[in-house]
Amino acid sequence: MKDESVYAATLGLFFALLALAGSNHASTGTDDLAKDAIMDITRGSYHPWLSTPWQPGEDQGLLFGVQAGLGGSVLGYFLCRYRKGGQSHLKR
């Protein structure tokens, strides 16, 4: 169990930080560029008929970090279990 926790914490933290760093990077996301392309093609005549009820703004990086952290922990936990309980029929 101890090993599993270490794996889960390490991978969780690693991916959370990676997601946070990526989200705070200054480059423009392609999703936003696509929005610009829609505006180009429709000459600005298209108005989204619905928008998200709230915008996370500054916290979006943090929320992506949470997603990556959760996924990374689950990944770490199971990868550790696989490492221990391997029943491979390949030679090691």
Binding site: A19, H25, D31, A34, Q60, F64, G71, K91
Partner: protein, 229 residues
């Protein structure tokens, strides 16, 4: 590749829901059977799901100066096929639409189709085709993940082009959207292919018996590998 909330006009957002939902329903059924008959495969499903969760949360800068997300769906497609991968993608897309304001509920159908269905389906075909041609197993995995990622973004470009045709037609529009997405995506798709190959190798070395039972690998594709290990 997430089409943002409200950015697909009627009737397109409905059309993509109608196309996606049956596949997700079918995927849920397969996953249920898996939970009943293949309990030993459930940790692998958790790994494939967590992999999608992690990779789709990363926003990575590309050589073009813009940034984008990998999808992580190639691994799930190889292990469990496109329908189950569509289910996992749906969970991720709902999470991102609700909590991150990334994507949207009205565009969910379209986003499920590109990330959860079209990408994994072509990724799955790429893997099966490559292994049938007796390509190196790791090359097949790389190709599958690369195809899955890139197809997802090209599908989004097509979805937007059909909803927003230029005065000169859908093709002009498609070129505009594909330019936005594909060029940024190619290096990221290659990187995703490498990462997917590493984790596949890890799982193969730990549980090749399970992968053989899931028919991901066959004896003939494993045998020659014993020589290299």
């Amino acid at each position: 590749m997430h089409i943002m909330e409200g950015f697909l006009p009627h009737p397109w957002w409905e059309i993509w829901f109608v196309l996606s939902l049956p596949v997700v329903a079918y995927g849920i059924k397969i996953a249920e059977n898996l939970a009943k008959d293949r309990r030993d495969a459930l940790p692998l499903l958790a790994v494939a799901g967590a992999f999608i969760f992690v990779l789709s949360s990363l926003k990575l800068p590309s050589m073009t100066g813009s940034s984008s997300h990998p999808t992580g769906t190639g691994l799930g497609a190889i292990f469990f096929g496109p329908a189950v991968t569509a289910v996992v993608s749906t969970v991720v897309l709902i999470y991102q639409a609700l909590f991150l304001a990334h994507g949207g509920i009205t565009t969910l159908g379209a986003n499920i189709f590109s990330m959860g269905i079209a990408g994994p389906a072509l990724g799955y075909v790429a893997y099966k085709g490559a292994t049938k041609l007796r390509l190196n197993l790791y090359a097949a995995v790389f190709l599958s993940a690369f195809t899955s990622d890139l197809t997802t973004y090209l599908t989004t470009a097509l979805q937007l082009a059909m909803a927003f045709p230029a005065a000169t037609g859908v093709w002009t529009s498609f070129q505009a959207f594909a330019t936005v997405f594909a060029i940024t995506q190619i290096p990221l798709a290659a990187m995703e292919g490498v990462v997917t190959t590493f984790i596949f190798r890890y799982l193969l070395r730990a549980r090749s018996d399970l992968l053989a039972r899931l028919k991901v690998i066959s004896e003939s594709s494993v045998k020659p590998m014993e020589v290299w290990n």
